[in-house]
Protein backbone atom coordinates (compact mmCIF):
# COMPACT_ATOMS: atom_id res chain seq x y z
CA UNK A 1 0.00 0.00 0.00
CA UNK A 2 1.39 3.40 -0.92
CA UNK A 3 0.57 6.34 1.21
CA UNK A 4 0.19 9.63 -0.51
CA UNK A 5 1.72 12.63 1.10
CA UNK A 6 -0.51 15.58 1.69
CA UNK A 7 2.32 17.86 0.64
CA UNK A 8 4.26 16.59 -2.36
CA UNK A 9 6.98 19.18 -1.99
CA UNK A 10 7.45 17.70 1.51
CA UNK A 11 10.90 16.18 1.36
CA UNK A 12 12.80 18.96 -0.38
CA UNK A 13 11.15 21.79 1.53
CA UNK A 14 11.55 19.99 4.80
CA UNK A 15 15.24 19.36 4.28
CA UNK A 16 15.83 22.94 3.27
CA UNK A 17 14.01 24.26 6.33
CA UNK A 18 15.88 21.97 8.69
CA UNK A 19 19.22 22.86 7.08
CA UNK A 20 18.39 26.54 7.35
CA UNK A 21 17.46 26.27 11.01
CA UNK A 22 20.55 24.25 11.84
CA UNK A 23 22.85 26.62 9.96
CA UNK A 24 21.27 29.55 11.77
CA UNK A 25 21.64 27.92 15.17
CA UNK A 26 25.20 26.84 14.39
CA UNK A 27 26.24 30.30 13.33
CA UNK A 28 24.54 32.27 16.10
CA UNK A 29 24.70 29.86 19.03
CA UNK A 30 27.11 26.99 18.64
CA UNK A 31 29.96 28.91 17.01
CA UNK A 32 30.08 31.66 19.67
CA UNK A 33 29.89 29.03 22.41
CA UNK A 34 32.87 27.19 20.93
CA UNK A 35 34.70 30.48 20.46
CA UNK A 36 34.20 31.42 24.11
CA UNK A 37 35.65 28.19 25.42
CA UNK A 38 38.51 27.97 22.90
CA UNK A 39 39.57 31.57 23.56
CA UNK A 40 39.39 30.98 27.31
CA UNK A 41 41.59 27.90 27.10
CA UNK A 42 43.92 29.23 24.37
CA UNK A 43 46.92 29.41 26.67
CA UNK A 44 46.09 26.26 28.58
CA UNK A 45 44.28 25.55 31.81
CA UNK A 46 46.75 27.50 34.01
CA UNK A 47 45.99 31.03 32.80
CA UNK A 48 42.30 30.11 32.71
CA UNK A 49 42.32 29.15 36.36
CA UNK A 50 44.39 32.23 37.26
CA UNK A 51 41.82 34.43 35.52
CA UNK A 52 38.78 32.95 37.24
CA UNK A 53 40.42 32.89 40.69
CA UNK A 54 41.88 36.39 40.66
CA UNK A 55 40.59 38.62 43.47
CA UNK A 56 38.56 40.79 41.13
CA UNK A 57 37.02 37.78 39.40
CA UNK A 58 36.12 36.14 42.69
CA UNK A 59 34.61 39.37 43.96
CA UNK A 60 32.56 39.66 40.74
CA UNK A 61 31.34 36.08 41.13
CA UNK A 62 30.43 36.72 44.77
CA UNK A 63 28.53 39.88 43.88
CA UNK A 64 26.68 38.14 41.04
CA UNK A 65 25.63 35.32 43.36
CA UNK A 66 24.56 37.81 46.04
CA UNK A 67 22.47 39.82 43.57
CA UNK A 68 20.79 36.65 42.29
CA UNK A 69 20.27 35.39 45.85
CA UNK A 70 18.35 38.57 46.70
CA UNK A 71 16.48 39.31 43.49
CA UNK A 72 15.25 35.78 42.72
CA UNK A 73 13.44 35.25 46.08
CA UNK A 74 12.06 38.81 45.94
CA UNK A 75 10.66 38.16 42.48
CA UNK A 76 9.38 34.78 43.56
CA UNK A 77 7.24 36.39 46.24
CA UNK A 78 6.19 39.22 43.95
CA UNK A 79 5.48 36.89 41.02
CA UNK A 80 3.32 34.51 43.03
CA UNK A 81 1.45 37.37 44.72
CA UNK A 82 0.81 39.19 41.43
CA UNK A 83 -0.34 36.07 39.59
CA UNK A 84 -2.54 35.05 42.51
CA UNK A 85 -4.17 38.48 42.58
CA UNK A 86 -4.64 38.59 38.81
CA UNK A 87 -6.03 35.10 38.38
CA UNK A 88 -8.13 34.58 41.50
CA UNK A 89 -9.68 38.00 42.07
CA UNK A 90 -11.56 40.64 40.15
CA UNK A 91 -10.44 44.18 40.85
CA UNK A 92 -10.26 47.49 39.01
CA UNK A 93 -6.92 48.18 37.35
CA UNK A 94 -6.24 44.50 36.70
CA UNK A 95 -5.35 44.90 33.04
CA UNK A 96 -3.13 47.84 33.95
CA UNK A 97 -1.25 45.62 36.38
CA UNK A 98 -0.74 42.97 33.67
CA UNK A 99 0.63 45.65 31.35
CA UNK A 100 2.93 47.00 34.04
CA UNK A 101 4.35 43.55 34.70
CA UNK A 102 5.47 43.47 31.07
CA UNK A 103 7.12 46.87 31.28
CA UNK A 104 10.70 45.65 31.83
CA UNK A 105 10.38 43.54 28.69
CA UNK A 106 9.40 46.52 26.59
CA UNK A 107 11.86 49.05 27.97
CA UNK A 108 15.54 49.06 27.02
CA UNK A 109 17.62 47.84 29.99
CA UNK A 110 19.75 50.98 29.79
CA UNK A 111 16.63 53.09 30.30
CA UNK A 112 15.66 50.86 33.26
CA UNK A 113 19.07 51.59 34.79
CA UNK A 114 18.70 55.30 34.12
CA UNK A 115 15.34 55.35 35.93
CA UNK A 116 17.14 54.36 39.12
CA UNK A 117 19.90 56.91 38.55
CA UNK A 118 17.18 59.55 38.12
CA UNK A 119 15.53 58.44 41.36
CA UNK A 120 18.47 57.71 43.62
CA UNK A 121 21.51 59.33 41.91
CA UNK A 122 23.30 62.35 43.42
CA UNK A 123 21.11 64.69 41.35
CA UNK A 124 18.08 62.44 41.46
CA UNK A 125 14.80 62.95 43.30
CA UNK A 126 15.86 61.22 46.47
CA UNK A 127 19.60 61.93 45.99
CA UNK A 128 19.98 64.81 48.48
CA UNK A 129 17.96 63.01 51.15
CA UNK A 130 20.01 59.83 50.68
CA UNK A 131 23.29 61.79 50.83
CA UNK A 132 22.15 63.44 54.04
CA UNK A 133 21.50 60.07 55.63
CA UNK A 134 24.66 58.55 54.18
CA UNK A 135 22.83 55.86 52.21
CA UNK A 136 24.49 54.80 48.97
CA UNK A 137 22.31 53.21 46.31
CA UNK A 138 23.70 54.25 42.95
CA UNK A 139 27.25 53.04 42.28
CA UNK A 140 26.74 50.58 45.12
CA UNK A 141 25.31 47.12 45.68
CA UNK A 142 21.72 48.24 46.51
CA UNK A 143 21.46 49.94 43.11
CA UNK A 144 22.59 46.79 41.34
CA UNK A 145 20.03 44.72 43.25
CA UNK A 146 17.24 47.21 42.49
CA UNK A 147 18.05 47.27 38.78
CA UNK A 148 18.23 43.48 38.64
CA UNK A 149 14.92 43.03 40.48
CA UNK A 150 13.29 45.45 38.06
CA UNK A 151 14.69 43.74 34.97
CA UNK A 152 13.77 40.23 36.10
CA UNK A 153 10.35 40.65 37.68
CA UNK A 154 8.26 39.62 34.66
CA UNK A 155 9.81 36.17 34.38
CA UNK A 156 8.01 34.39 37.20
CA UNK A 157 4.70 36.26 36.94
CA UNK A 158 4.57 35.69 33.17
CA UNK A 159 5.08 31.99 33.71
CA UNK A 160 2.44 31.67 36.44
CA UNK A 161 -0.41 33.85 35.15
CA UNK A 162 -1.43 31.60 32.22
CA UNK A 163 -0.93 28.48 34.33
CA UNK A 164 -3.07 29.71 37.20
CA UNK A 165 -5.63 31.13 34.79
CA UNK A 166 -6.03 27.68 33.25
CA UNK A 167 -6.27 25.96 36.62
CA UNK A 168 -9.08 28.23 37.77
CA UNK A 169 -10.05 28.59 41.39
CA UNK A 170 -12.06 25.43 42.02
CA UNK A 171 -9.25 23.76 43.96
CA UNK A 172 -8.88 26.78 46.24
CA UNK A 173 -12.63 27.01 46.77
CA UNK A 174 -12.74 23.30 47.57
CA UNK A 175 -9.96 23.68 50.15
CA UNK A 176 -11.65 26.68 51.78
CA UNK A 177 -15.00 24.87 51.85
CA UNK A 178 -13.29 22.02 53.70
CA UNK A 179 -12.22 24.46 56.38
CA UNK A 180 -8.65 25.27 55.32
CA UNK A 181 -7.31 28.75 56.09
CA UNK A 182 -5.99 31.00 53.33
CA UNK A 183 -2.43 30.10 54.23
CA UNK A 184 -3.15 26.34 54.37
CA UNK A 185 -4.88 26.60 51.02
CA UNK A 186 -1.89 28.35 49.49
CA UNK A 187 0.63 25.98 51.02
CA UNK A 188 -1.17 22.65 50.49
CA UNK A 189 -3.14 23.31 47.31
CA UNK A 190 -2.00 26.28 45.24
CA UNK A 191 1.75 25.92 45.62
CA UNK A 192 1.85 22.21 44.70
CA UNK A 193 -0.36 22.99 41.69
CA UNK A 194 2.06 25.62 40.37
CA UNK A 195 5.39 24.21 41.56
CA UNK A 196 6.77 23.21 38.15
CA UNK A 197 5.76 26.46 36.53
CA UNK A 198 7.24 28.34 39.45
CA UNK A 199 10.54 26.47 39.22
CA UNK A 200 10.68 27.17 35.52
CA UNK A 201 10.14 30.87 36.12
CA UNK A 202 12.76 30.90 38.87
CA UNK A 203 15.25 29.30 36.50
CA UNK A 204 14.72 31.91 33.78
CA UNK A 205 14.70 34.68 36.36
CA UNK A 206 17.98 33.46 37.82
CA UNK A 207 19.67 33.18 34.43
CA UNK A 208 18.72 36.74 33.63
CA UNK A 209 19.63 38.05 37.09
CA UNK A 210 23.15 36.65 36.73
CA UNK A 211 23.57 37.70 33.13
CA UNK A 212 22.02 41.18 33.11
CA UNK A 213 24.38 43.77 31.68
CA UNK A 214 22.69 46.97 30.49
CA UNK A 215 20.74 48.17 33.50
CA UNK A 216 23.39 47.01 35.95
CA UNK A 217 26.12 48.72 33.94
CA UNK A 218 24.34 52.07 34.30
CA UNK A 219 23.95 51.90 38.09
CA UNK A 220 27.13 50.01 38.98
CA UNK A 221 29.91 52.56 38.60
CA UNK A 222 32.30 49.73 37.67
CA UNK A 223 34.32 49.82 40.88
CA UNK A 224 36.61 46.82 40.75
CA UNK A 225 36.27 44.38 43.57
CA UNK A 226 33.16 46.24 44.78
CA UNK A 227 30.43 46.85 42.23
CA UNK A 228 31.45 44.67 39.32
CA UNK A 229 29.22 41.75 38.50
CA UNK A 230 30.46 39.00 36.20
CA UNK A 231 29.15 40.48 32.93
CA UNK A 232 30.67 43.86 33.84
CA UNK A 233 33.93 42.21 34.78
CA UNK A 234 34.04 40.50 31.38
CA UNK A 235 33.66 43.84 29.65
CA UNK A 236 36.42 45.49 31.68
CA UNK A 237 38.88 42.66 31.03
CA UNK A 238 38.03 42.71 27.34
CA UNK A 239 38.55 46.45 27.10
CA UNK A 240 41.95 45.95 28.71
CA UNK A 241 42.88 43.42 26.00
CA UNK A 242 42.99 40.60 28.58
CA UNK A 243 41.23 38.24 26.21
CA UNK A 244 42.00 35.05 28.12
CA UNK A 245 40.65 36.60 31.33
CA UNK A 246 37.57 38.00 29.61
CA UNK A 247 36.70 34.71 27.92
CA UNK A 248 37.51 32.70 31.02
CA UNK A 249 34.90 34.60 33.07
CA UNK A 250 32.57 34.58 30.07
CA UNK A 251 32.89 30.80 29.90
CA UNK A 252 31.56 30.60 33.46
CA UNK A 253 28.49 32.54 32.35
CA UNK A 254 28.20 30.25 29.34
CA UNK A 255 28.27 27.27 31.70
CA UNK A 256 25.44 28.85 33.67
CA UNK A 257 23.50 29.15 30.41
CA UNK A 258 24.10 25.48 29.62
CA UNK A 259 23.05 24.36 33.08
CA UNK A 260 19.92 26.51 32.78
CA UNK A 261 19.16 24.94 29.43
CA UNK A 262 19.46 21.41 30.76
CA UNK A 263 17.41 22.18 33.86
CA UNK A 264 14.80 23.85 31.67
CA UNK A 265 14.55 20.78 29.46
CA UNK A 266 14.20 18.51 32.46
CA UNK A 267 11.50 20.77 33.90
CA UNK A 268 9.61 20.93 30.64
CA UNK A 269 9.60 17.18 30.55
CA UNK A 270 8.30 16.92 34.12
CA UNK A 271 5.84 19.72 33.48
CA UNK A 272 4.41 17.87 30.50
CA UNK A 273 3.96 14.61 32.34
CA UNK A 274 2.29 16.45 35.12
CA UNK A 275 0.10 18.48 32.81
CA UNK A 276 -1.31 15.40 31.11
CA UNK A 277 -2.07 13.68 34.42
CA UNK A 278 -4.22 16.44 35.77
CA UNK A 279 -7.88 15.81 36.53
Amino acid sequence: MTRRRTTTEGTAARRLLIALALAFLGFFLLLPLIAVFSEALKQGIGPFLDAVTSDDALSAIRLTLLVAAISVPVNMVFGVAASWAITKFQFPGKSLLITLIDLPFSVSPVVSGLIFVLLFGAHGWFGPWLAEHDVKIIFAVPGIVLATVFITFPFIARELIPLMMEQGKDDEEAAISLGASGWQTFWHVTLPNIRWGLLYGVLLCNARAMGEFGAVSVVSGHIRGETNTMPLHVEILYNEYDFVGAFAVASLLACLALVTLVAKTVLEWRFDIHGSAKH
Partner: protein
Protein backbone atom coordinates in the same frame (compact mmCIF):
# COMPACT_ATOMS: atom_id res chain seq x y z
CA UNK B 1 -33.96 23.90 57.95
CA UNK B 2 -32.56 26.12 55.20
CA UNK B 3 -34.38 29.35 54.48
CA UNK B 4 -33.50 31.60 51.57
CA UNK B 5 -35.13 34.96 51.67
CA UNK B 6 -35.47 37.46 48.85
CA UNK B 7 -32.02 36.84 47.33
CA UNK B 8 -30.96 39.10 44.49
CA UNK B 9 -27.62 38.94 42.69
CA UNK B 10 -26.18 40.90 39.79
CA UNK B 11 -23.00 40.39 37.81
CA UNK B 12 -22.41 43.84 36.39
CA UNK B 13 -25.53 44.63 34.38
CA UNK B 14 -26.65 41.03 34.29
CA UNK B 15 -29.39 40.11 36.74
CA UNK B 16 -28.50 36.56 37.79
CA UNK B 17 -31.05 36.09 40.57
CA UNK B 18 -34.10 38.12 41.40
CA UNK B 19 -36.09 37.87 44.62
CA UNK B 20 -35.46 34.19 45.33
CA UNK B 21 -37.40 32.68 48.27
CA UNK B 22 -37.02 29.03 49.17
CA UNK B 23 -37.40 26.79 52.20
CA UNK B 24 -35.80 23.40 52.51
CA UNK B 25 -36.77 20.86 55.16
CA UNK B 26 -34.16 18.79 57.02
CA UNK B 27 -33.24 15.63 55.12
CA UNK B 28 -34.77 16.76 51.84
CA UNK B 29 -33.14 16.04 48.50
CA UNK B 30 -33.67 19.12 46.34
CA UNK B 31 -32.95 19.64 42.63
CA UNK B 32 -32.34 23.10 41.22
CA UNK B 33 -33.41 22.56 37.63
CA UNK B 34 -33.07 25.02 34.79
CA UNK B 35 -31.34 25.83 31.52
CA UNK B 36 -27.92 27.48 31.49
CA UNK B 37 -28.20 31.10 32.54
CA UNK B 38 -31.20 30.39 34.77
CA UNK B 39 -29.19 31.24 37.90
CA UNK B 40 -29.27 27.76 39.45
CA UNK B 41 -25.52 27.47 39.97
CA UNK B 42 -25.31 31.02 41.32
CA UNK B 43 -28.03 30.17 43.84
CA UNK B 44 -26.16 27.02 44.89
CA UNK B 45 -22.94 29.00 45.33
CA UNK B 46 -24.74 31.62 47.39
CA UNK B 47 -26.17 28.92 49.65
CA UNK B 48 -22.62 27.54 49.99
CA UNK B 49 -21.08 30.94 50.73
CA UNK B 50 -18.82 30.80 47.67
CA UNK B 51 -20.67 33.77 46.23
CA UNK B 52 -22.46 36.58 48.02
CA UNK B 53 -25.90 37.98 47.35
CA UNK B 54 -26.40 41.69 46.73
CA UNK B 55 -29.46 41.63 48.94
CA UNK B 56 -31.50 39.06 50.86
CA UNK B 57 -30.59 36.51 53.51
CA UNK B 58 -29.69 32.88 54.01
CA UNK B 59 -30.65 31.09 57.23
CA UNK B 60 -29.39 27.71 58.44
CA UNK B 61 -31.64 26.48 61.27
CA UNK B 62 -32.65 30.02 62.04
CA UNK B 63 -29.03 31.27 62.06
CA UNK B 64 -28.39 34.16 59.70
CA UNK B 65 -25.32 32.98 57.76
CA UNK B 66 -25.67 35.58 54.97
CA UNK B 67 -22.33 37.22 55.71
CA UNK B 68 -20.37 34.06 56.46
CA UNK B 69 -17.92 32.56 53.99
CA UNK B 70 -17.95 28.97 52.87
CA UNK B 71 -15.33 28.00 55.46
CA UNK B 72 -17.69 28.99 58.28
CA UNK B 73 -20.90 27.51 56.94
CA UNK B 74 -19.93 23.90 57.37
CA UNK B 75 -21.30 22.69 54.07
CA UNK B 76 -20.01 19.96 51.80
CA UNK B 77 -19.57 21.17 48.22
CA UNK B 78 -18.98 18.84 45.28
CA UNK B 79 -17.64 20.71 42.28
CA UNK B 80 -18.68 19.97 38.73
CA UNK B 81 -15.11 19.10 37.73
CA UNK B 82 -14.57 17.56 41.20
CA UNK B 83 -11.58 19.85 42.00
CA UNK B 84 -9.64 16.98 43.53
CA UNK B 85 -6.15 17.86 44.72
CA UNK B 86 -4.13 16.04 42.09
CA UNK B 87 -0.84 15.89 43.96
CA UNK B 88 -2.51 14.14 46.91
CA UNK B 89 -3.57 10.52 47.09
CA UNK B 90 -7.25 9.66 47.25
CA UNK B 91 -6.96 9.03 51.01
CA UNK B 92 -5.19 12.38 51.53
CA UNK B 93 -7.89 14.11 49.53
CA UNK B 94 -10.62 12.60 51.68
CA UNK B 95 -8.70 13.39 54.88
CA UNK B 96 -7.93 16.99 53.86
CA UNK B 97 -10.83 18.61 55.71
CA UNK B 98 -9.84 16.85 58.94
CA UNK B 99 -6.09 17.37 58.69
CA UNK B 100 -6.36 21.14 58.16
CA UNK B 101 -8.46 21.59 61.29
CA UNK B 102 -6.79 24.01 63.65
CA UNK B 103 -8.75 23.07 66.73
CA UNK B 104 -10.09 19.64 67.74
CA UNK B 105 -7.99 18.02 65.07
CA UNK B 106 -8.40 14.24 65.37
CA UNK B 107 -5.27 12.12 65.81
CA UNK B 108 -3.51 10.82 62.71
CA UNK B 109 -4.85 7.33 63.35
CA UNK B 110 -8.40 8.67 63.73
CA UNK B 111 -8.12 10.65 60.51
CA UNK B 112 -6.86 7.59 58.66
CA UNK B 113 -9.66 5.43 60.07
CA UNK B 114 -12.25 8.04 59.14
CA UNK B 115 -10.91 8.32 55.58
CA UNK B 116 -11.01 4.55 55.22
CA UNK B 117 -14.56 4.44 56.50
CA UNK B 118 -15.64 7.08 53.99
CA UNK B 119 -13.88 5.31 51.13
CA UNK B 120 -15.81 2.18 52.07
CA UNK B 121 -19.01 4.20 52.10
CA UNK B 122 -18.39 5.38 48.53
CA UNK B 123 -17.23 1.88 47.56
CA UNK B 124 -13.64 2.83 46.86
CA UNK B 125 -11.95 0.84 49.63
CA UNK B 126 -8.49 -0.22 48.62
CA UNK B 127 -7.97 2.71 46.26
CA UNK B 128 -6.80 5.16 48.94
CA UNK B 129 -3.17 5.12 47.82
CA UNK B 130 -3.98 6.03 44.21
CA UNK B 131 -3.84 9.51 42.71
CA UNK B 132 -6.93 11.17 41.20
CA UNK B 133 -5.31 10.97 37.75
CA UNK B 134 -5.42 7.18 38.00
CA UNK B 135 -9.19 6.99 38.57
CA UNK B 136 -12.16 6.94 36.22
CA UNK B 137 -14.63 9.82 36.11
CA UNK B 138 -17.20 8.03 38.26
CA UNK B 139 -14.57 7.13 40.85
CA UNK B 140 -13.33 10.73 41.03
CA UNK B 141 -16.88 11.87 41.55
CA UNK B 142 -17.19 9.55 44.54
CA UNK B 143 -13.86 10.70 45.96
CA UNK B 144 -15.12 14.27 45.75
CA UNK B 145 -18.26 13.19 47.58
CA UNK B 146 -16.31 11.35 50.29
CA UNK B 147 -14.06 14.38 50.75
CA UNK B 148 -17.07 16.65 51.19
CA UNK B 149 -18.71 14.23 53.65
CA UNK B 150 -15.53 13.94 55.75
CA UNK B 151 -16.18 17.25 57.51
CA UNK B 152 -19.65 16.00 58.52
CA UNK B 153 -21.41 18.90 56.81
CA UNK B 154 -24.92 19.96 57.79
CA UNK B 155 -25.76 20.41 54.13
CA UNK B 156 -24.48 18.75 50.96
CA UNK B 157 -24.32 20.81 47.77
CA UNK B 158 -23.59 19.29 44.37
CA UNK B 159 -22.97 21.29 41.21
CA UNK B 160 -24.02 19.28 38.12
CA UNK B 161 -22.87 16.09 39.85
CA UNK B 162 -23.25 13.88 36.79
CA UNK B 163 -22.49 16.41 34.08
CA UNK B 164 -19.02 15.12 33.22
CA UNK B 165 -19.89 11.43 33.08
CA UNK B 166 -21.01 9.21 30.24
CA UNK B 167 -24.60 7.97 30.10
CA UNK B 168 -24.16 4.50 31.61
CA UNK B 169 -22.00 5.61 34.56
CA UNK B 170 -24.35 8.51 35.11
CA UNK B 171 -27.31 6.23 35.53
CA UNK B 172 -25.55 3.89 37.97
CA UNK B 173 -24.17 6.76 40.01
CA UNK B 174 -27.56 8.41 40.11
CA UNK B 175 -29.18 5.36 41.64
CA UNK B 176 -26.28 4.97 44.03
CA UNK B 177 -26.47 8.59 45.16
CA UNK B 178 -30.19 8.28 45.81
CA UNK B 179 -29.61 5.23 48.00
CA UNK B 180 -26.79 7.00 49.82
CA UNK B 181 -29.04 9.95 50.51
CA UNK B 182 -31.74 7.67 51.85
CA UNK B 183 -29.21 5.94 54.06
CA UNK B 184 -27.63 9.13 55.47
CA UNK B 185 -30.60 11.48 55.47
CA UNK B 186 -28.33 14.47 54.88
CA UNK B 187 -30.09 17.56 53.50
CA UNK B 188 -28.82 17.84 49.93
CA UNK B 189 -29.21 20.25 47.04
CA UNK B 190 -28.00 19.55 43.55
CA UNK B 191 -27.95 21.58 40.39
CA UNK B 192 -28.88 20.06 37.06
CA UNK B 193 -30.10 21.01 33.61
CA UNK B 194 -31.31 17.44 33.02
CA UNK B 195 -35.01 17.13 33.88
CA UNK B 196 -34.82 13.33 33.94
CA UNK B 197 -32.13 13.53 36.62
CA UNK B 198 -34.15 15.98 38.68
CA UNK B 199 -37.37 13.96 38.45
CA UNK B 200 -35.64 10.71 39.30
CA UNK B 201 -33.58 11.86 42.28
CA UNK B 202 -35.21 14.75 44.03
CA UNK B 203 -37.87 14.88 46.71
CA UNK B 204 -38.71 18.32 45.42
CA UNK B 205 -37.71 20.09 42.22
CA UNK B 206 -37.09 23.83 42.00
CA UNK B 207 -37.53 24.89 38.37
CA UNK B 208 -35.65 28.08 37.54
CA UNK B 209 -35.59 30.37 34.54
CA UNK B 210 -33.98 33.76 34.01
CA UNK B 211 -32.99 34.20 37.64
CA UNK B 212 -36.43 33.40 39.03
CA UNK B 213 -38.13 30.36 40.48
CA UNK B 214 -41.00 29.25 38.24
CA UNK B 215 -42.20 26.38 40.36
CA UNK B 216 -41.30 24.36 43.44
CA UNK B 217 -42.91 20.97 43.79
CA UNK B 218 -42.58 17.23 43.89
CA UNK B 219 -41.49 15.59 40.61
CA UNK B 220 -45.12 14.50 40.19
CA UNK B 221 -46.39 18.06 40.61
CA UNK B 222 -43.96 19.77 38.24
CA UNK B 223 -44.57 17.14 35.61
CA UNK B 224 -48.32 16.79 35.90
CA UNK B 225 -49.25 20.30 36.94
CA UNK B 226 -46.63 22.66 35.52
CA UNK B 227 -47.19 26.16 36.87
CA UNK B 228 -45.98 28.04 33.80
CA UNK B 229 -45.57 27.40 30.08
CA UNK B 230 -41.81 27.35 30.67
CA UNK B 231 -42.05 24.53 33.20
CA UNK B 232 -44.35 22.62 30.91
CA UNK B 233 -41.81 22.82 28.09
CA UNK B 234 -38.68 22.34 30.14
CA UNK B 235 -39.90 19.43 32.25
CA UNK B 236 -40.96 16.71 29.88
CA UNK B 237 -42.09 17.30 26.31
CA UNK B 238 -45.01 19.48 25.43
CA UNK B 239 -46.94 20.32 22.27
CA UNK B 240 -48.42 23.73 21.92
CA UNK B 241 -51.71 23.29 20.09
CA UNK B 242 -53.72 26.07 18.46
CA UNK B 243 -55.60 28.28 20.92
CA UNK B 244 -52.81 27.97 23.52
CA UNK B 245 -53.42 24.43 24.70
CA UNK B 246 -50.39 22.58 26.14
CA UNK B 247 -50.42 18.82 25.90
CA UNK B 248 -47.86 16.04 26.49
CA UNK B 249 -47.12 13.63 23.57
CA UNK B 250 -48.53 10.70 25.55
CA UNK B 251 -51.73 12.60 26.37
CA UNK B 252 -52.82 12.65 22.75
CA UNK B 253 -55.02 9.95 21.21
CA UNK B 254 -55.89 9.21 17.63
CA UNK B 255 -59.64 9.18 17.03
CA UNK B 256 -61.83 8.08 14.16
CA UNK B 257 -63.28 11.54 13.54
CA UNK B 258 -64.11 14.85 15.17
CA UNK B 259 -60.49 15.55 16.04
CA UNK B 260 -57.80 17.87 14.80
CA UNK B 261 -56.44 16.73 11.40
CA UNK B 262 -52.74 16.00 11.45
CA UNK B 263 -50.55 15.06 8.51
CA UNK B 264 -48.03 12.35 9.52
CA UNK B 265 -44.41 13.21 8.65
CA UNK B 266 -42.41 10.55 10.41
CA UNK B 267 -42.93 7.49 12.62
CA UNK B 268 -40.28 5.70 14.63
CA UNK B 269 -39.92 3.39 17.58
CA UNK B 270 -38.99 5.14 20.82
CA UNK B 271 -38.64 2.63 23.62
CA UNK B 272 -42.07 1.15 24.32
CA UNK B 273 -44.04 3.57 22.14
CA UNK B 274 -44.40 4.83 18.60
CA UNK B 275 -43.21 8.38 18.33
CA UNK B 276 -45.20 10.10 15.62
CA UNK B 277 -44.19 13.46 14.21
CA UNK B 278 -46.83 15.30 12.29
CA UNK B 279 -48.04 18.70 11.18
CA UNK B 280 -51.36 20.22 12.10
CA UNK B 281 -52.79 20.90 8.67
CA UNK B 282 -54.42 24.32 9.03
CA UNK B 283 -51.76 25.81 11.32
CA UNK B 284 -48.54 24.46 9.87
CA UNK B 285 -47.54 23.52 13.42
CA UNK B 286 -45.42 20.53 14.38
CA UNK B 287 -46.89 18.06 16.87
CA UNK B 288 -45.39 15.00 18.56
CA UNK B 289 -47.53 12.06 19.59
CA UNK B 290 -46.65 8.92 21.54
CA UNK B 291 -48.77 5.93 20.63
CA UNK B 292 -48.85 2.60 22.43
CA UNK B 293 -46.56 0.25 20.53
CA UNK B 294 -49.19 -2.50 20.55
CA UNK B 295 -51.37 -0.39 18.26
CA UNK B 296 -50.85 -0.10 14.54
CA UNK B 297 -49.00 3.08 13.73
CA UNK B 298 -50.19 5.32 10.90
CA UNK B 299 -47.86 5.56 7.91
CA UNK B 300 -46.09 8.77 6.87
CA UNK B 301 -48.19 10.76 4.40
CA UNK B 302 -51.49 9.70 6.00
CA UNK B 303 -53.73 12.21 7.69
CA UNK B 304 -55.22 11.28 11.08
CA UNK B 305 -57.47 12.99 13.60
CA UNK B 306 -56.09 13.65 17.08
CA UNK B 307 -57.66 14.63 20.38
CA UNK B 308 -55.85 15.68 23.55
CA UNK B 309 -56.77 13.64 26.61
CA UNK B 310 -55.35 15.92 29.21
CA UNK B 311 -54.52 19.57 28.63
CA UNK B 312 -53.21 22.59 30.49
CA UNK B 313 -54.12 26.18 29.89
CA UNK B 314 -51.96 28.98 31.17
CA UNK B 315 -53.19 32.43 31.90
CA UNK B 316 -50.64 34.49 30.03
Amino acid sequence: MIRIQNITKRFGDYLALEGIDLEIEPGEFIALLGPSGSGKTTLLRIIAGLEFQDSGQVFFNGDDVSERGVGERHVGFVFQQYALFRHMTVAENVAFGLSVRRKDRPSKADIRARAEHLLRLVQLDGLGHRYPGQLSGGQRQRVALARALAIEPRLLLLDEPFGALDAKVRKDLRRWLRDLHKQMGLTSIFVTHDQEEALELADRVVVMDHGRIDQVGTPEQVYMEPATPFVSHFVGETNLLPSGIHVRPHDIEIVADGGLPVMIDNVFRKGGVWRIEGTIAQHDQVVEIDLDASLVAPAPGETVQIRPRRVRNFQE
